[in-house]
């Protein structure tokens, strides 16, 4: 049995066990949920530490055939792309379970749903089978709706439930159409177990050697892009997110905003990009501008919010923009940055929603006009919230900074204007709304009515926040823990998209020295697979956009350009 099966299995088994626990055994219910998520988290940490960076193929793989005629099998495994996501998901799940003390009614049902959600989302990330990939995501998604509807707060709770259900179901449906269409691109005789079926690695391998027809790519890619995009609150399909998170109980918001939302992004990188490179190249031009909708438009909307949770929700949507920008850049640096933000934002979103949930429980409101000066009464929670806010506006030391700055470096070559605007969104707009919120919530004089509130008293209450903060700091200060594992596998994906090898690797490129003779300028190389097959696919040709040529021949180019007196404005 793979360790992954245990990681996703414990929460699901615990959920099953809880069904048989009487509802008045509250302590036991809570203990079971905490224990299951805790074990799952420990196993995820172990898995992360044991993961060998750069090893070919998937690790901790396990495959059990299920429906042979359709080619469906239970198949899990990790590579650099999802190893960090699973770790993040498991940590956030444990933190969410810790924060669930705020639920006071129908606890049994809540914990069951929470555990199902946890198992589902961890499974979706671990799954290497297209069917389970989608199915486990839906398994995690549906509890969200119920939890918001039953345990949600605020007067717009019902509308929020309605809206989030509508949007996410439609998004998931569009993605499903795309995935089925993708499956149908495989010749009928290969659609069984042992051949290709729903197996993601085999699909990838197949389409690497037999590129999909251009027409099919242009049909399927937008379905996946917008289907997954809606799930990730891509502008202009984002309005479900702030209201939904604002109305959700905080453990749900933590899990959904932190972990579940990353599913769409993961799907884009894992499936859409490598399988449909030609369409990806085309659509990324559009995505680069759509992501500005997230970063700038939603950033501005966040500035207008009067409710802390709506502000955090909008800020979470805005952060998705950086990930989209990184993906749109379609180069190793940008996509790595995108994955880094996915992980960092998972911790961050969970942290901020957890903290706002704590404040809500103390004050009964999150209207910023009514709050103020809480830092005096809530030293721990206040400090954590301030740190979260600073992490949210990209302060170095927190993992978000590493991801954002990497995305900017990657995207600059491809979309300079969009990168400049995104930078403005990251440094200015983010700081404006975050600091205003902190000014209104934590600083200034405290209204008399909050003199009775109390800080997180004992270790159990502090634990989830401390854990999430520590994760942000560890990956922010030592980003190589992640990048060393991520880059080798992302490199393969990026190679597939670009249809050519990129002259950079995970190994350190020696620093550029002066006087490099011009003949060292790397000629554009062709993907190894195409060389081996002896044919040049259409992809290779289409990959030669001006940006890619600049990138590939560019390595020692500035020095050369400079020496030759060439202009850089080419």
């Amino acid at each position: 049995m793979s360790i992954l099966t245990y990681i996703l299995g414990w929460p699901l088994i615990a959920a099953f066990v809880l069904v048989f626990v009487p509802r008045n055994y509250r302590v036991i219910i809570r203990a079971v949920a905490l224990l299951a998520t805790f074990v799952s988290m420990l196993l995820a940490v172990k898995m992360f530490c044991q993961f060998v960076a750069g090893q070919a193929g998937y690790q901790f793989e396990q495959q059990i055939p299920w429906v042979e005629s359709l080619g469906i099998s239970y198949h899990v495994g990790v590579d650099g792309l999802n190893v960090g996501l699973i770790l993040m998901g498991a940590i956030v799940a444990f933190a969410a379970a810790c924060c669930s003390f705020e639920i006071q009614s129908r606890e049994k049902e809540f914990y069951i749903l929470l555990l199902v959600m946890t198992g589902g989302i961890l499974g979706a990330f671990a799954s290497l089978d297209l069917f389970f990939f989608y199915f486990l995501h839906e398994l995690a998604l549906v509890p969200t709706f119920i939890m918001i509807g039953v345990w949600g707060r605020g007067e717009r709770k019902n509308y929020a439930t309605f809206q989030i259900t509508l949007y996410l179901s439609v998004g998931a449906l569009i993605a499903l159409i795309g995935l089925i269409a993708l499956y149908l691109q495989v010749p009928a005789d290969l659609r069984t177990t042992g051949k290709i079926g729903f197996d993601i690695p085999k699909l990838t391998e197949f389409f690497r050697n037999n590129p999909m027809a251009g027409g099919a790519q242009n049909f399927i890619f937008p379905l996946l892009l917008f289907g997954f995009g809606i799930l990730v609150s891509l502008w202009p399909f984002h309005t479900w997110a702030p209201l939904g998170y604002g109305s959700a109980p905080s453990p749900t918001a933590m899990l959904h905003a932190g972990v579940l939302k990353k599913f769409g992004l993961y799907g884009l990188i894992r499936i859409a990009l490598p399988l449909m490179p030609q369409a990806a190249q085309h659509w990324m031009q559009i995505l680069a501008w759509l992501c500005l909708g997230n970063i700038l438009f939603v950033g501005w909307v966040a500035m207008r919010q009067r409710n802390l949770n709506l502000l955090i929700g909008n800020s979470s949507v805005a952060h998705m923009g950086f990930i989209f920008l990184g993906i749109a850049s379609l180069n190793l640096i940008g996509v790595t940055g995108a994955v880094l933000i996915m992980i960092a934002h998972g911790f961050l979103a969970a942290l901020t929603f957890g903290l706002s949930g704590y404040i809500y429980r103390q004050t009964g409101t999150l209207e910023m006009g009514e709050l103020g000066g809480l830092a005096r009464k809530l030293p721990f929670i206040g400090t954590a919230l301030l740190m979260a806010a600073l992490a949210g506006c990209g302060l170095p030391g927190f993992a978000n900074f590493v991801g954002e700055v990497t995305v900017f470096f990657g995207a600059w070559k491809v979309f300079p204007v969009a990168t400049g605007l995104a930078l403005w969104g990251a440094l200015m707009i983010g700081a404006l709304y975050m600091l205003r919120a902190m000014r209104n919530v934590l600083h200034g004089p405290m209204p008399e009515k909050w003199s009775g509130i109390s800080d997180a008293a004992h270790v159990w209450r502090k634990l989830p926040y401390g854990l999430l903060l520590a994760s942000l700091l560890v990956f922010g200060c030592f980003p190589r823990l992640l990048t060393e594992k991520i880059t080798p596998d992302l490199e393969k994906i990026v190679e597939m998209v670009r249809g050519e090898t990129i002259a950079v690797g995970s190994t350190r490129v020696p620093r550029v020295q002066f006087g490099v003779p011009p003949n060292c300028v790397g000629a554009r190389t062709i993907g190894f697979d195409q060389m081996k097959d002896g044919k040049l696919s259409q992809r290779t040709v289409s990959g030669t956009t001006p940006e890619t040529t600049r990138e590939t021949r560019g390595l020692p180019a500035v020095s050369v350009r400079a020496l030759a007196g060439n202009t850089i404005l080419n």
């Binding site: 207008r304 205003r436 490129v509």
Partner: protein
């Protein structure tokens, strides 16, 4: 002896102390203070021993470890040790150490004592990080961390709305500069094809600038862009025009913070950074830098003339002096800039600590018109303050004279006569506003409890009741305790001798490659060096100082209220209101963002949301209604639809 581990220790000790205080000793006030003071003083001692062992030019100038490596994005975490960084470490730990010790007395009554020292240690760590960084991203990381520790310390009394607002403003204004800075770094990385190290980037820039074939338009264009964007970072951090507005507001923080962060070290980080990467700047960028610096110097000096809050006067004076330094950088005189930075760190920290001593003695009174007659009551503060004033004004043989004179001489050497004239005018203005402050606040009669300038905004701010203890209006000033007086004395010594102990020569060895013999070697030669080197500059500078002093003496010697507004009219009002920059920014930058935000919010609420929900719900609804027509229960309709279906099928089958 190499002692290579020492710089790492120096860098990380304050971080360790900040962490330890935050996690463990928040409740134990004295331990927290001792941890923080211990970290910075140990840092100072270790720096001295490192320099003693290795000199200012260690054999191993850079040590680094890889921090992040993706493709050709390679970011190191390393330390660069040369004259520039080692001297700056000495300033940060030395002056900072004095201020830490002073804070032990100044903050002793405050309930956030431990938090204060945790933030101070965090600041020291970040500042040392800037100083020791060997590449742009590392610099930027610590740059931001310095910004955040400044945010925390300005907003230290966060319950006071003005302090909370000032903290926010400082951070956001700094962020505006950092936006340009980071963009500049990214463009630089792209333009140099992947180098972020100071050394390599500067080599490449120099190779382009000094290319035998001449600089192409494109290269020059990008170099100018990069230079100006990187300069943006310095504009934000060193509070140069047009981003100078945050620094005076930053005086809301405790006075030791103003001394350490907003006078001696952090605001100087911009100048330090410019000197660090000075070879990146081409002629065009240097020109802009020089003029921005010069203009800031003049603007701030003019504003300082009409301020009434003792800390704000000093803050504008800091702005003005930073303008000098930036101007020196633009006039390709990094030695002069760093020299002035060093002496300024001594005397401005001294002035702020003196002001803090006065403020504490008067129970948080900051309006100079409510002071007066402090000479007898506070002798140590009085004498050290006058030393600081003389040094700032540039009176020989105090340290400020030498450094300011060297900047003026550089302006003349570069044949930039307008900037030279501007520098001289600012020198006169500096003397004027400093002696105005000195005459009103320290000399004359005690003005107990009367507020002759009740119309001033500062009076209202200084009168914040939340901080003042009851009965503060009938104060009895007293000298500060020894823990505050000794740092004053120490800094005073350096403010006097800072100009003649060879600091300039040390910096020269960094920037001037041809090793000509030092111009002045003996003490006496050093003392009269400015007169020997460029006598005209020294004399013109002294004349300006004399003019400023005489004007201040005539106007303020026995003044009960400010005579200047009557004489200058609207110009004085404009100066008092800081030339309305805050109002202008409020009306443009902030309002623009708020306006856009309002529009976007409206669109989001009423168009995007409506369209998303409306289309799906409306579409489903519409389809339902349309399909309902198929099942009316009406037999004729069914028959018609049946016939229609048959017709379609027949067409499809037979029509082909």
């Amino acid at each position: 002896m190499n002692l290579e581990a020492l710089p790492w220790l120096i860098l990380f000790l304050p971080l360790l102390s900040a962490t330890a205080i935050t996690l463990f000793t928040m409740r134990c006030r004295t331990t927290s203070a001792l941890l923080s003071i211990g970290a910075i003083v140990t840092g100072f001692v270790l720096t001295l021993s490192f320099i003693a062992a290795n000199g200012f030019h260690p054999a191993v100038m850079e040590t680094s470890a890889n921090w992040l490596s993706i493709g050709n994005l390679n970011i190191d975490f390393g330390l660069r040790l040369d004259v520039l960084s080692l001297m700056m470490v000495l300033i940060v730990t030395g002056v900072g150490g004095a201020i830490h010790i002073y804070s032990f007395g100044y903050m002793s009554e405050d309930r956030g004592f431990s938090r204060f020292f945790a933030c101070m240690s965090l600041f020291t760590f970040s500042m040392l990080g800037i100083v020791l960084a060997n590449n742009f991203i590392q610099l930027f990381i610590f740059w931001e961390l310095v910004g955040v520790s400044s945010y925390l310390l300005i907003g230290f009394w966060f319950e006071k709305p003005s302090a909370a607002d000032a903290a926010k403003k400082a951070f956001i204004t700094n962020r505006l500069g950092d936006f340009g800075f980071l963009l500049g770094i990214i463009i630089l990385w792209w333009w140099t094809n992947g180098s972020l190290s100071f050394d390599i980037a500067q080599q490449q820039a120099q190779a382009v600038i000094k290319s035998p074939y001449g600089v192409t338009f494109g290269d020059n264009f990008w170099l100018t862009i990069i230079g100006l964007l990187i300069f943006c970072g310095a504009v934000g951090k060193s509070a140069q025009f047009p981003l100078h507005v945050w620094l005076p507001d930053a005086m809301e923080g405790p006075t030791p913070v103003s001394a350490l962060i907003h006078a001696a070290t952090m605001v100087a980080a911009g100048v330090y950074m410019l000197c660090r990467v000075i070879l990146l700047f081409n002629v065009e960028a240097s020109h802009v830098i020089a003029w921005v610096g010069g203009f800031t110097a003049l603007l701030a000096a003019l504003i300082a003339i009409q301020q009434n809050d003792i800390k704000r006067i000093l803050a504008y004076s800091t702005l003005s002096q930073l303008g000098y330094m930036v101007m020196a950088v633009g006039l390709s005189g990094p030695t002069q800039a760093m020299f002035h930075l060093t002496t300024h760190a001594f005397f401005k920290a001294l002035l702020f600590l003196g002001a803090g001593s006065v403020i504490i003695a008067l129970h948080h009174e900051q309006n100079i018109w409510k002071m007066g007659g402090l000479r007898q009551k506070m002798p140590v503060t009085f004498w050290t303050f006058i030393i600081g004033t003389l040094a700032l004004c540039g009176v020989p043989p105090f340290s400020g004279f030498y450094s300011k004179d060297s900047i003026l001489a550089q302006a003349l050497e570069q044949r930039n006569y307008p900037l030279f004239a501007l520098g001289v005018v600012v020198a006169g203005l500096t003397t004027f506003y400093m002696f105005r402050l000195f005459y009103i606040a320290f000399l004359g009669e005690r003005r107990t409890g009367v507020a002759p300038v009740s119309h001033s905004k500062e009076a209202a701010q200084a009168g914040d009741e939340s901080l003042r203890q009851a009965g503060s209006l009938s104060y009895e000033p007293h000298e500060s305790p020894p823990v505050m007086a000794w740092p004053l004395r120490t800094l005073a010594v350096f403010a006097v001798i800072g100009g003649v102990i060879g600091i300039r020569g040390i910096f020269d060895s960094q920037f001037i490659s041809d090793t000509h013999a030092e111009r002045a070697s003996t003490f006496l030669q050093k003392l009269f060096e400015p007169f020997a080197h460029a006598p005209i500059v020294a004399i013109i500078g002294l004349l300006a100082v004399a003019a400023g002093f005489i004007a201040a003496r005539m106007l303020y010697r026995n003044a009960e209220s400010d005579p200047l507004p009557a004489k200058l009219g609207w110009f004085a009002t404009a100066m008092k209101n800081r030339f309305y920059f805050d109002e202008i920014y409020e009306a443009t930058f902030i309002r623009a963002h708020d306006f856009i935000a309002a529009v976007m919010d409206w669109i989001d609420r009423w168009l995007v949301d409506w369209a998303g929900i409306g289309l799906v719900r409306g579409g489903t609804d519409f389809t339902g209604r349309a399909l309902r027509l198929m099942q009316t229960g009406n037999l004729q309709t069914y028959a018609f639809l049946f016939a229609l279906g048959v017709a379609v099928v027949l067409y499809l089958v037979l029509g082909k």
